[in-house]
Symmetry: C2
Subunit: 311 residues, 2 copies
C-alpha cells in the first residue's frame, strides 16, 4: 500500500518538480573504489529536495484547507519550498522566520509569494508564532520533516534515482529532521533491488545516531556544525520509519564535511550545500567496506552563501 | 563539405566526450527577458570544451604520427585536454608548461599521463621549447586554438546544443584564442535555423573586437582580466572563419564578468570559470536588444581555484 502511495505521490507532484540529473565522476570513483551516482537536488526548483515534500503536502490538503492556506516555521530551504509550492498551487503560505534570518533568505521567500511573519530567534518563539498564525488565520500547519505527506514527497528523489540506476547497492543521504532519510528508506525498500539506505550525520548534531542506538528519540546536545540544514531534530512520524528501514547512521567530523564538499565542487562542478556533502563524507569514511559497489548519493541542495565558503 | 566534415568529426569524437547537459533557470530568464539555454561544458571530461578539439586533432593524425606522439604549450585547459585525449587514444603527449604554473595544474596533466616539460614563463620560451621537443622527439605540434581540427572539434558543442534546441536565435560564446567561437560559428551556420553567433570578450583582452573592426589580427595590449582563459590571441586559421561567420563581439568589464559569474553559480548551481561568465555578461549588457529571443550560452569550463574566488 505504501508502494502504491509512493507511485501516486510521484505522479501527482511531477508537474511541479524537476526530475533532476544524475552526475558521475571517474575521478571520484577512483578515490571511492566504487561507482558513485549523485542525484543532484541542488538543481531542483528553489534549489533543494524540500520542494518535493512541500508540494505533496499541499496537494494532499482538502479543498477547504487549500482555500484557507498553510503555515510553517523555517529559516532554511523548507521556507522557500512551501512558499514556492503554495504559489504554484494557488495557495496562501505564511512563513514564520526568525528576525535574525539573512535578508537574502527573506527576499527569496517573498519572491515566491510567501507571507513572512517574523519572530524571536528561538524554537519556542517559532512554534508559538506558527500556532498563533494557525489559529488566527485558520490555516494548516505543515511541519518541514515530521509529516507523512512531506516524507513521501521527499522519497520521490530516491525513486527517480532508482529509475536511472536500478541496481544500487546503497544510497547515502544526509540526516537533519529525518524527512529525507525516511522517504528515501521507503522508496529504496519498495523500488530498490535489496538496496540499503545509510544516513550521514555531523558528530556535532548526532541526534539520529543516538536515537537509533537507544531506540528513543534523543535531542541534539550541540548543533555547532557547518551543515546548517542538519541542525533539526527527528520526529515521531519519521523515527519509526527510520528505525525500520535505515541500515545505519555514520557520523562525520566538520573537516570531513568540508573535504567532501570541496571534492563535490571541484570534481562534479556543482554548487552544493555543506549538508549535501555529509552523505559523501559518510561514505568516504567507510569506503573500504563498500568496495566495488554501486552507490547512490543524494545531493540535497545548493542554496549556499557564496561569500562565506569554507575554502 | 564543411557541414559533412562537422558531422563526421562529431561521430568520431563521440566515444571520447560527454554530450553535456543543457540547463535553464526561470529566474535568469526573468532577468534576461529572453529564454536562455546554457550548454554546460564545465561537465565535459577534464572540465572544459577543449577536450573536444584536442580529441579531434589527435584522431586526425596519421598512424605514423600517432605512434610518435604530440606536443603543445599551455598552462590552461588545453594542457589537460591534450594529455587526457592522448591518453584515451594511446598516444604520447608532451606538454610545455611555464615553471610558474600552479602545482594543481601540473598534477592534473600528470594525472592524465602527460609528460610535462617546464620552461620560463614567457610566450617566446614556450614556443621555443615546444619547437625543440617537436624536433627532438619527432612529434606533431597541436596548437590550442589555431588548428582546423581543433576548431571543428570545438564546434561540436554548438552542434549538440542545436540538437537540443534547434530554434536558437543567438549563441553567445567567450572569445580567447578563437577556436571555440570559430567552431561554434561554423556549426551555427550549418546546423542552426538562421542562428547568429556573438562573442563575449573582456575589455582587458579585446584583440578579437579590434581585429574584427580593423580587418587585421590585432595583439592584446593588456591581459589584466579575471577571465584567465581569454588572454590568448586569435590566429590566422580561425580569424577568417570569425570574420565570415561571427555577427559581432561585445566587450565587458571585469565587474560585469564577476556579476555574471555570481549569477551562474547562485542560480544554475554550477561551478564555472570566470571565462565562462563572459558570454552571459555580454548578453546581459545588451539584453534589451534581444527581448523574447531564444539564446544559447556556452559555459566553457569549470576548472577554477576555489580558494581564490572573486566573491
Amino acid at each position: 500500500m505504501e508502494k502504491d502511495k509512493l507511485i501516486q505521490v510521484h505522479k501527482s507532484i511531477q508537474p511541479y518538480i524537476h526530475n533532476t540529473t544524475v552526475l558521475t565522476s571517474k575521478l571520484i570513483d577512483g578515490i571511492a573504489g566504487s561507482q558513485l551516482f549523485f542525484k543532484c537536488e541542488n538543481f531542483q526548483k528553489m534549489g533543494a529536495f524540500k520542494m518535493r515534500g512541500a508540494t505533496n503536502a499541499i496537494i494532499n490538503l482538502s479543498e477547504a484547507q487549500k482555500n484557507k492556506g498553510v503555515v510553517t516555521h523555517s529559516s532554511g530551504n523548507f521556507a522557500q519550498a512551501l512558499a514556492l509550492s503554495a504559489q504554484s498551487l494557488g495557495v496562501r503560505a505564511f512563513i514564520v522566520m526568525p528576525s535574525t534570518a539573512p535578508q537574502v533568505k527573506k527576499d527569496a521567500v517573498k519572491g515566491y509569494g510567501g507571507i513572512i511573519v517574523e519572530c524571536e530567534p528561538t524554537l519556542t518563539a517559532r512554534e508559538t508564532t506558527a500556532k498563533e498564525i494557525q489559529e488566527k488565520e485558520d490555516v494548516t500547519f505543515i511541519h518541514p520533516s515530521n509529516n507523512i505527506d512531506v516524507i513521501l514527497g521527499q522519497g520521490t528523489a530516491c525513486k527517480e534515482l532508482l529509475e536511472n540506476e536500478p541496481d544500487l547497492d546503497y544510497i547515502f543521504v544526509p540526516v537533519g529532521g529525518g524527512g529525507l532519510i525516511a522517504g528515501t528508506a521507503l522508496s529504496a525498500y519498495y523500488f530498490g533491488n535489496n538496496c540499503k539506505v545509510i544516513g550521514g550525520e555531523p558528530f556535532e548534531a548526532d541526534d539520529a545516531y543516538r536515537s537509533l542506538q537507544s531506540g528513543v528519540i534523543q535531542a541534539n546536545t550541540s548543533t555547532n556544525t557547518i551543515a546548517d540544514g542538519l541542525k533539526t531534530q527527528l520526529g515521531d512520524v519519521n523515527f519509526p520509519i527510520i528505525q525500520k528501514h535505515v541500515d545505519k547512521i555514520i557520523r562525520v567530523t566538520e573537516a570531513e564535511i568540508v573535504a567532501a564538499m570541496k571534492l563535490i565542487w571541484e570534481r562534479l562542478k556543482i554548487v552544493s550545500e555543506p549538508s549535501s556533502a555529509v552523505a559523501l563524507a559518510a561514505f568516504l569514511q567507510e569506503k573500504d567496506i563498500f568496495k566495488n559497489k554501486k552507490i547512490g548519493i543524494i545531493i540535497s541542495g545548493g542554496n549556499v552563501d557564496l561569500s562565506h565558503l569554507p575554502f
